[in-house]
Subunit: 618 residues, 2 copies
């Protein structure tokens, strides 16, 4: 297989114009970063690096705290690259100084295992040390690449060097692997930033070692250790064909696998990535791009087990991980079905995780919330400002600006427009400007300000059944290949590509094997999945039946941003002759009503409500 | 409140004639008891009483093992009373000798905490010592009352005396309570068998102490102990209005509360029982009588949270506990709505827990099983011969014969026929014989062989909308009160009451607040809940739609016992134009088919299959 050499055009080269990315990134700067930083201080996550915690003091450090701080730092680097801010930069430098001071002489750096516990490396399967290290590396690379700051990068390299000396297959080394994957993809970033091949080798070691025999976790934890699958360590990664276990760990691993496969032209490893991606997206993914069907263990379960309520998980971090995995797969193949998943996850299962205000978060992204929804671990019917395990809020700190990196990819001869969000982009071939109201409207104008020869590829999403495209007013008739239409020419500074992606309201069924969704439909328009909230549908959701064959109307939605496009249509509301009886005989009453659906990602921005994506139909 | 003084007519006075109880009890003798006994030996549960287990030996004892052995012993006593068997009795005596030998000098008796651990009473919230003690007391009482055997009763009394000296509010005593309730109802049985008031007092202490301040569990486990509600210890039991926490613990507690309330004319306590019963049966109970909506913690969750698949629990033991609680409430009130729940649970949610062969068990009684059902703790798509925590199989050892005790109740002037199963009964007023094919047929003949004056009360179930009744051929026109028709007379030896409970197929809706059941119906006939299995419905269940308005037919069911009555009718099977796609647009195909439904309790007796109780309707 010849892997493509697309690279995402980095967010620093992309300026969002109006539209939802710009707004979301601005709230990241104004709300998500400040509130997360404040929480990190309040909870002791930052002071933990002082290494002076003692029994009896408040804010006992926790094994995964360092990762939260690192993710906020990475988010600050991302944001500072877009919004220079001296105050914030000073804060950022101060925290890095503190972190650097916590590094041990041998390079080890972990606030928990340098203060609360001395069990360094003693519980790899649960102790998150390598996971925390990975996030530290990512923060360091972001600071270096975006802001030119070297201090944390040097700290990271010293730590990585120590890890590289400690783990491996050489005599005297420990053949361990992380219980929570993350360091693999982080080491690749560190390798790319520094050019140090040993970081690539270490990432590859962690990936290749996983699930081999003798199995590290089984050896350390004993033969009765039954959770190996939860850590994707039940078999070598190249032999894995189903996405299993903890869903965030899984997709973080697959990101690392995709990176290593591409950098080393490793067909076998890449093929495993393809197979795992197919398994997720064809059998184990919510319509929103959410993944992880069970709060219990935060795991993937079985094919088509995709229930919508209390049991499900669909953690924000898992959706973010899936977008990152899909983006890597796109860049390695140029195949639009991967870009389709990037789009689906961002506009639905990821952005649902954060409030429009930027300071409240879903950990669990339910597809249905009722009066009787029971909140298991990290489940909540309303977004929360923070969690004891606050991986999701801190992931948003970095992911919101990172969204800009998913708009474009380029190779040495091509540029692909993956998400036609309004933006201006400085590519290696010149400036490109996208004018659109995407994802709320399918009309897109691309102004190419370049006089170079290159191929501009414009994505025709799989959801789009009809489109028109023109170049300087002349129809473009090329067929889409792998969902992209390629326009290859020497461009002039005034070239304009205009296209329109037809965006009717679509009625979606799910595979009949998803048994909870039979008799139900979801509405989509463009890439957006819609949901009904009781705010707009006060007669209730579970008792509402949408008529499938009808002309849906588009509408504004009171209380949501002006650009939001809602869907309006005819429905029937059932009511009961006996509201008190648990079970009863007799006919239900029916009443014609009008329903309103809103973009799923925007639910719970107007107060508490019941909500469902999958609505009964007839 | 004047509590009634009904008592269940004990199973030893009731002989089952043909019909499902007789068959089930016979398999208890021929299969359930032998297989459970064998498993108790195989797993080391019986040898554990030798107290010689040491590290490195197989079959490490477990904290709840003693309860399993005790329940099997209680089952053997029940069975020996019905089927004298010298071999089995020898075995029974031998085990009792072994148990007696394990009693400590001070009376304490627990195989785990006398061998593996010495942490006696150190973890009341989880260690199950008082729970095991309760089951030992119940076994002892059964052996004494049914077989006249005193040895285990003496052991039990010594243990109870020790517990009574250890726990309580006197100086030097520990104000502890059990984490897993059971001992309360057991102490009442011990009190009734021995007349020793102190056992009643101890039961009352455990009940009254629960949830008081200072809270025992919070004190011992620390202020952050968040599981208090799981143990029904979040507030005093008299103030509890919602069934919360571990469902088996809850109903065992409520049984004890009902016993204490009745014996001490404690209106306040009895009112709490009524309120809790209402909360369960009006808001937190499956249509089968199953309770416990979540495998996670094995708990009650919130009102109307009654999902049907992977998440649910509906443990067999919980349904058994609910039947016992309901029976106590009936005997205290004479109100047929309690008898209705006894009936519902036995014929549906309890008997579903055991195979017709008597040697395989559901711990979790799903109402829906699909290809994608994911089995969490103790969940299984097929009945299993045993579990690591095997409370359910051993509960069936005692419950199957115990079913006979739910047929009749009597007071000093009345006899109530609660379950008109074919049987002969030796009441204090003379012999009564019931001829019926109940629950498969509503025609019931009661022959009264007595010349005494008493009131015979015959239950007209709430599910029965039409009935006829005659005494010696003359119509009985009395109205039912609290669902019972009372015939008060001086009886003659040849009196015959005949009645017919109309048993059409009933189409049942559930409250619209049970959101997963909207758009679905369940079929019932008489007290039986029906289910569809893919064995009879090979085109699938989740894609099947039953036409609500139709004349259902009754039918035989291939592979099930000859007396079984199935339901046959018209349905539509949906199929998909795209079996591969996870989500898709387009219309589904529809095909007219015939469906067959079988009694829910009998599903999975013909091999693995998918199954559902709640079926889509139109």
């Amino acid at each position: 297989m010849q892997l493509k050499n697309y690279n995402s055009i980095h967010m620093t080269k992309v300026t969002p114009n109006d539209g939802i990315f710009k707004k979301r990134i601005k709230t990241c700067y104004s709300a998500t970063i400040p509130s997360s930083l404040q929480k990190c201080y309040e909870t002791g996550r930052i002071d933990a690096f002082k290494l002076d915690w003692q029994e009896g003091m408040p804010n006992k450090p926790h094994i995964f705290w360092d990762s939260d701080v690192a993710k906020v730092l990475e988010g600050i680097a991302n944001i500072l690259a877009l919004y220079p801010d001296k105050e914030l930069e000073k804060e950022y430098d101060k925290i890095i100084d503190l972190i650097a001071s916590a590094q041990q002489k041998d390079g080890y750096l972990n606030s928990f295992f340098s203060s609360v516990s001395s069990d360094r490396w003693q519980g790899l399967y649960m102790n998150h040390e390598l996971y925390c290290a990975g996030h530290l590396f990512e923060a360091a690379v972001a600071g270096y690449e975006l802001l030119g700051k070297k201090k944390l990068l040097e700290v990271a390299c010293r730590y990585a060097d120590y890890i590289e000396s400690y783990f491996g297959r050489k005599e005297g080394q420990v053949r361990g692997i992380p219980g929570h994957e993350e360091i693999e993809l982080a080491l690749i970033r560190l390798y790319k930033a520094t050019g140090e091949k040993r970081y690539f080798d270490l990432a590859k070691y962690f990936i290749d070692e996983r699930g081999t025999s003798p199995n590290y976790f089984a050896e350390v934890e004993g033969k009765n250790f039954t959770q190996i699958e939860r850590f994707q360590a039940h078999k070598p990664v190249r032999e894995q064909t189903e996405a299993v276990g903890h869903s965030v760990r899984a997709v973080y691993l697959y990101c690392g696998m995709a990176d290593v496969a591409r950098l080393s032209d490793d067909d076998e490893l890449f093929h495993a990535c393809e197979t795992l991606f197919e398994n997720i997206t064809r059998k184990r993914m919510y319509i929103t791009g959410g993944i992880g069907s069970s709060f219990s263990g935060e795991i993937f379960t079985t094919d088509y087990d995709l229930s919508n309520g209390s049991l499900m998980y669909a953690e924000s971090c898992a959706a973010i991980g899936l977008a990152r995995f899909a983006s890597r797969m796109f860049n390695a193949t140029g195949d639009g079905r991967y870009a389709e998943i990037v789009e689906k996850t961002i506009f639905n299962g990821i952005l649902s995780g954060i409030s429009l205000s930027g300071d409240k978060f879903f950990y669990t992204n339910y597809l249905e919330v009722d009066d009787n929804t029971y909140s298991y671990n990290h489940g909540a019917k309303e977004r929360q400002p923070w969690f004891d395990c606050s991986c999701c809020p801190t992931n948003f700190c970095r992911f919101l600006p990172e969204m800009l990196s998913y708009i474009w990819s380029e190779s040495d001869s091509e540029i692909t427009l993956n998400l036609p969000i309004a933006n201006s982009c400085q590519s290696t071939f010149g400036e490109l400007e996208v004018i659109s109201r995407y994802p709320y409207d399918g009309k897109i104008t691309v102004k190419v300000k370049s006089n170079k020869k290159f191929t501009l590829k414009l994505r025709i999403p799989e959801w789009c059944k009809k489109y028109e495209m023109s170049l300087n007013g002349v129809a473009v008739t090329e067929k889409a290949e792998k969902t992209y239409i390629a326009i290859n020419r020497t461009w002039s500074e005034t070239d304009v590509v205009e296209y329109n992606l037809d965006m009717p309201v679509r009625v979606i069924h799910s595979n009949l094997k998803i048994t909870g969704n039979t008799g139900r439909i979801a509405l989509m328009r463009g890439p957006l999945v819609y949901a009904c909230e009781t705010i707009d549908n006060p007669k209730g959701i579970a008792n509402m039946i949408i008529k499938k064959d009808q002309d849906f109307e588009l509408c504004e939605v009171a209380g949501l941003p002006a650009e939001t496009v809602g869907i309006k249509g005819k429905a029937v509301a059932e009511s009961s002759p006996d509201n008190e009886a648990l079970y009863f005989e007799g006919d239900l009453m029916r009443e014609n009503i009008e329903f309103i659906a809103i973009p799923y990602a925007l639910w719970n921005n107007r107060g508490a409500a019941n909500m469902a994506v999958w609505i009964r139909c007839e």
